[in-house]
Symmetry: D3
């Protein structure tokens, strides 16, 4: 049965914004190297870094009807996450839908399929991470579901999870972990700041991380 | 038998330029969602939007001899469309050939293979849509044909068809349809301008397009 | 047995810099169309053109320990070349390692795997050519080797070879050929300058290269 | 934190066996076209058709240690489902592990990575569905988890779900739906038997399914 | 506008059968190395070699309605050729449709998409060449066209062309060339029979084809 | 300069045959997990397991002239290894060349490109490992080299190295290591025979390999 779930729990915006600040690589490490979407998900333009609450869409191949349905479920600070039930490169999304989402305060789109009007989307700075760019149009005939658990580009996404996306890709932070991950990010960033200063001063990671003994124990030979 | 067809019918430049103005996504929709090349055809730099008459080249793998032959067949306002007879990523085209085409007023290149010197091509703003970027050189030993029907990246192209290319990809408008498609584009753009304004004002596509009843009839449940 | 070779012969910097000046496409042609890496190796940002001496790393899938070991072997003017023993898209390298390499005067990284922190790498202008962009972290458990012969993206690389990399991809110049290739590049560039001027003036390659007779002999028909 | 969950709820064997009888295409349709793994998951030999309870493994790239841990959690009638945390084609599994699984009554392996010893696995008729065949060995250094929810080849898998696999691919039946899906399969098979007889007798699907009116209403023209 | 063209010109069955006899590699060579579909089109089982007249179907992504329409247009000796308007791996075709086609004497299916029930199709020896195997179901909502020119896997196909398919792939013989190509195949086979006997007797192609002089003239050195 | 090296050192046939006996997975492990070709190299039919001395061919894209040259350099017990200078799927090799190689006692072909006549090659049991199957013909215009070091499918191959190939793929044993690797294979097989018997008897790898302590030390939790 196809459903639209209307009420989803969202994460507090100060946590979401803190995750955006940290970015994908840090968030992914901070939560134990989990939650990353496959690397074929690429931004349509460089430089965007966003986070938001996931509104999820499970959608048939070549049919974007449910994106129109999903728009209504979106609020300020959300990110739309769309995954077709069968691999399909069709261009599900373009500038008109972006105008509609932007009018509701949606921060961006993650779609395991194609997107079009990328010139216009770039001009209006509406960021999209997609599997490809394609102008191929879709139909509006078959139902899907909104705000159900989906798999997008190899990662499980639940409605209300936090999505973090930047030039490194896209990462999912489960709703319940957001607060903990923010704390881990902060700790990690502080530690990295110290290491960064030492590396820039010419010290070696081999020494900073104390790797030489373990390398020798494993049998590494210098010749 | 390998041939060079010297006289091809071209489309009037005001129609060609109107199609460039509309861009790939609009043109593709306006002609009934046909004519699109596969999405692996990508521009070497962002921002170009061109249209022109196709001069076609059927070419062997790893051999760019026929591109030199085709240059002579090109005129002001043309676009060269090159397709190897067998999948091959070799770099068939670089800056010197671009100088030659630019000197004849050619607007760009569509090639289902590799291209090189992309830094120079970007600097001289000669746009190319290709399957990949590769410096691998080619030989000049085997004939092909110029201005015969070809298949390029999954689309049938006839000499004198209009090629439209931008950041969304590449679309073919058959010679005979150019005038009709321009009219359809204009109609579509006018309709979209109205929808765009309403979406920006916060109205939903669900309401603008009157989708709610059909969704309910199909059985969509809101929970 | 896993080893770190500490002394490698490097090519004189004036030869290395001359190769950078010529760029990948010219160098590749000048040495007889050899040495090119596969075209899936792409720069993380456009516009960089570098050359340097290869410090090579053979590394297990999903484990970047040996990159830390390799940093110590790098000198001013080197380029790090990393290849996993089995295809793997993991993000082996990020901004901290780049800080460390930059502090030693390393000019860039070639890695047949993933890279992350591309926004930071772009900001600090540390160029990387990689198979993909991925934030997926690695472990530090298993040895590999530094400065042994490797295959990277389909090309054989020996420590101390010259690496040339730009928007067209990556090319390897064997250590022993560097001087000869520089000379060939100069000769090629001089010849191309003459051809370029004639092409820009509207002459055809068909005439400049004297191709018409051979084409006719092969049976090309103009209709 | 890496964990091994030791007690999972399994589906009754008569339901599991009924699903094996129906096969992937029927099961997938019967549960509303959900649960299918990506089509790059292929059997190492043709003709096997199995079903079993999923024992899941989340595993690092290039490291098969946790498969050894998972063997102990397997029982008669299970199927092992393995997914690396980052895409990796390494050969995680071979004949020795198959001997061990077979000794415990495990019916097969689903792995989104590589497998080796396929000649031996074929000879002993231990079926595997994998992303590729690769002899590349793995290490045993890094933990993962057993019997946690995973994503395998684009589908969410929970421990104790039923896996159905045959020449058409692999499908997941959620633990709670097994009984309902078996009923749906039976109904579908009965309906299809009737249609099959009519089609073999030369009747057309157009008539059996009553499609002609809807086609005409949509505007299909016969010329 | 979507249409079904009901009357197409077919090639005489003795020519079609002669082309089947020759097979794909010979036919492709005999017509000047043209007409080959991309090599990702693979048979679902080894050993089939067929030829037949093309009934073509242009079809939307994820929607197999028009295959049902096309069945009615098929006759004894035809081959159905199906191409989606946008790349899509969905399983458009299975055993029930095969029963229907087989009842009409159709010899096989060429589809640039997915197919399912391959175990049953193999058992009934109904050969299919497809881009992938996938159980993912389709809908029946959107029109396409039957017996219009299409592009399938990179080759242009017109209704009534002859399709030849075997373990080497799929080749298209244009309707008008069938008789000529049969003659060329016969000539080629006779010539090859002589060469085969000499090669089996230990003579070298270098001598049979008289290549040594040309090799020396091109500068090949034996060391 | 293009050359044919006529005298290469070959490995003694009893060592070569011993490596064939062990097969790819064992040989690859026995020599420290090196030498494996990329997993996209697949056999055209299942069940062949061969080893032989490499006669190498570096060849241009779409041009098989040098294979004819290479045939003359082959002897009883050799395996031909062919790699194009730029990625190309063309069908370089078919049944006539196989007749010629078989007449000289060549055991098989490894080619990082396409092969055709696979039905005939299967019938005559001439095994081929290739990147794809394609009937697309090649020209004979451009030189390459025979018996020079090449990179094939990501592995460095020197003339006279031993090639081992079976259903798991292809592995290179360097000429100098053959004797050592045979010894390692024997040792490995003896050790595996003991483990196999224990696994079949129901013992766990966890116990046989003594893994439980290390797992606990790394922090694995059983819940």
């Amino acid at each position: 049965m196809m459903v639209v779930v209307q009420n989803i729990a969202r994460v507090d915006s100060h946590l979401v914004d803190a995750l955006a600040q940290s970015g994908v690589a840090t968030v992914h490490e901070a939560q134990g190297r989990t939650g990353l979407l496959a690397p074929y998900m690429r931004p349509i333009y460089a430089g965007a870094r966003i986070a938001g609450n996931a509104v999820t869409v499970s959608i048939p191949p070549g049919d974007n009807w449910m994106i129109h349905v999903a728009v209504e479920q979106c609020r300020e600070g959300d990110i739309l996450v769309v995954s077709p039930t069968s691999a399909c490169d069709t261009g599900y999304f373009g500038e008109l839908l972006a105008c509609s989402l932007a009018a509701r305060g949606v921060r961006g789109l993650i779609i395991e399929a194609g997107v079009r009007d990328v010139r216009d989307l770039t001009a209006m700075q509406f960021p999209v991470w997609s599997r490809c760019i394609s102008a191929q149009g879709t139909v509006k005939e078959t139902l899907g579901s909104v705000n159900v658990p989906i798999v997008c580009a190899g990662a499980a996404v639940h409605p209300g999870d936090v999505i973090v996306a930047d030039d490194d890709g896209v990462c999912i932070v489960p709703h319940a972990s957001a607060s903990h991950v923010v704390a881990q990010c902060t700790a990690r960033e502080q530690k990295e700041a110290v290491v960064r200063a030492r590396l820039k001063a010419g010290e070696l990671g081999l020494d900073i991380y104390g790797m030489r003994e373990k390398l020798a124990a494993r049998g590494l030979k210098y010749v």
